[in-house]
């Protein structure tokens, strides 16, 4: 039931990925959000489950938590391992993926590790991490990295590997140096898939941050969720969950803007 609540609002960034015309797209996105929230409201009032509060109750709880400062304070705590972990995963992950895509030895070294990481149930590593690094920031940051890194590396690697050969030939014919070919052709061509990996990695990193707080020690948003659940204050519990989902969706939307700005101006307003 908790996972259902997590799934529904998460539909927002997926919708956001292919807006048609700017105006119609925005309208449809709003409509999609409105439908989900409306269903939530109906389900909450209809008493599908006593533990499911209506959207309006949740929103009021969120406002109250904003006002008393508990939500912002929890956010700041959760944000620390999250931002740290995502920053490390992004830099390291994109770097490793690009290296593997461009350089054979890195590919041979990296691919088996990636395959194992992809196959492993990574949450099972959390107790191990706690054993090795304690219950502090290090462990939580590592959980974020473990969740986010593989998908970022894999996408960056695949993106580089699938550079259209004819664009590379075009670069060579017009006398681009290997460095220029990488900077001006390979990276822009790869950027949509690299950024798709980053978006997936950010979503996974948010899951990792909450997972760490639920599995290691309850702090931040994880603490709010656990605490309000234990005292059966479901509106506040859902408010905490919804807040983190919203933050994740906004971050992912922001990433898309950054990509279009930096690499793919032709996709603006498409």
């Amino acid at each position: 039931m908790r996972s259902a609540a997590l799934d529904e609002p998460a539909a927002v960034p997926v919708e956001a990925e292919d807006g048609r015309t700017a105006l119609g797209g925005a309208a449809l996105r709003l409509l999609s959000v409105a439908i989900v929230l409306g269903l939530w409201e109906v389900a909450g009032r209809g008493g599908v489950n006593p533990a499911l509060p209506a959207f309006s109750e949740t929103a009021l709880a969120a406002l109250a938590m904003l006002a008393d400062g508990s939500l912002p304070a929890a956010f700041l705590v959760t944000l620390e391992p999250l931002v740290l972990g995502l920053a490390i995963s992004t830099l390291l992950g994109v770097g490793l993926g690009i290296a593997m895509g461009l350089w054979r030895p890195a590919e041979w070294l990296g691919v088996p590790v990636l395959v194992i990481l992809q196959a492993a149930p990574l949450a099972a590593l959390v107790p191990l991490l706690t054993f090795a690094y304690g219950i502090g920031l290090t462990s939580k940051t590592l959980v974020v990295c473990i969740m986010a890194l593989p998908v970022i590396v894999l996408n960056a690697y695949r993106a580089i590997r699938h550079t259209p050969q004819s664009l590379v030939e075009m670069g060579r014919v017009f006398l681009a140096s290997p460095r220029i070919i990488v900077l001006r052709i390979v990276l822009p061509a790869a950027s949509p898939v690299i950024f798709a990996g980053l978006r997936l990695g950010v979503a996974a990193g948010f899951i990792g941050a909450i997972l760490a707080e639920l599995l290691i020690t309850p702090t931040g948003i994880g603490d709010l969720v656990t605490y309000h659940q234990s005292v059966a204050d479901y509106p506040r519990m859902y408010a905490a969950i919804a807040a983190i989902v919203l933050a994740s969706a906004l971050t992912i939307g922001l990433l898309e803007r950054v990509e279009i700005r930096l690499f793919r101006p032709e996709r603006a307003g498409r």
Binding site: P164, S166, L167, E169, M170, G171, R172, V173, F174, L175, A176, I180, I185, P188, A189, F263, R264, P265, E266
Partner: protein, 267 residues
């Protein structure tokens, strides 16, 4: 096949200079596929040579070997007497699949070659604008390739190759996607370009009419492995009215001869 390999070009030929491009015994094998076999050809400045042959006979392969994009399995290519080891500033290429940067505007795409040669921004954009207008795309400078039709994209690739002012133009089916009216205009423009500037044109086409209309010399290739099956030098007067060429009996005869020669490969 035996094709007439006589005659002289009636274009005011420059005092016979040494060939700028020499292809010597070039073969190419891709794994099990023998794409080209023992190609010997020379190309002189100021002349346009067409490569004509069925699909898959190695025309693109030969052009890319001359461009220095792929190494031959055997033999060598020389440009101005020097062996080719890679691409060079004296060669430009028009790609069969256009090879445009999807994230760059028409202006940036056309200026790309100039930019890589270090031409300052103002100058390269001016030259790019000139060639964009020249291929009939004025007004589309700020468009992205996905906003253009296939034929328009092809013209962007053409403008990019012309903009770098290379001595040797390697054109892989440059007019295949443009409409018939534009194609005829481009063919006439190309004749003008060949007459005006002493460049070397290597032109791949599937159209016999186009080859005969444009070429000083037509190299017929046979399929798998690609071999020189014959060389035709149409004796067509190209001064005066371009429309007259298409009614010139020599033009019609040459088209017919080549067609009969190539028919054998169609089965």
């Amino acid at each position: 096949m035996s094709a007439p390999s006589t005659a002289t070009a009636t274009r005011p030929t420059a005092p016979s200079t040494r060939p700028i491009v020499e292809v010597r015994g070039v073969s190419k094998v891709y794994g099990k596929v023998r794409a080209l076999h023992a190609i010997d050809l020379e190309f002189e400045p100021g002349r346009l040579t067409s490569l004509l042959g069925p699909s898959g006979c190695g025309k693109t392969t030969l052009l890319k070997i001359i461009a220095g994009l792929i190494p031959p399995s055997e033999g060598e290519v020389r440009i101005q007497g020097r062996p080719v080891t890679g691409p060079g500033p004296e060669r430009a290429f028009v790609f069969q699949d256009f090879a445009l940067l999807p994230w760059a505007t028409v202006l940036k795409n056309v200026a790309f070659g100039l930019e890589l040669r270090g031409v300052p921004r103002a100058e390269r954009e001016e030259r790019a604008r000139h060639w964009i207008a020249e291929v009939g795309l004025a007004g589309f400078e700020q468009s992205y390739p996905h906003q253009l039709s296939g034929g328009m994209r092809q013209r962007v690739g053409l403008a990019r190759a012309l903009a770098v002012d290379a001595q040797v133009l390697l054109m892989d089916e440059p007019f295949s996607a443009v409409d018939e009216q534009t194609r005829r205009k481009f063919q006439e423009d190309l004749l003008g370009l060949v007459a005006r500037e002493k460049k070397t044109f290597l032109f791949v086409t599937h159209s016999i009419e186009e080859a005969v209309y444009l070429s000083d010399r037509i190299v017929l290739l046979s399929p798998r492995p690609g071999r020189v099956a014959g060389i035709v030098e149409p004796k067509i007067r190209r001064d005066g009215d371009p429309e007259r060429i298409r009614r010139d009996p020599v033009y019609l005869d040459t088209v017919e001869t080549i067609w009969r020669g190539l028919k054998g490969y169609v089965e």
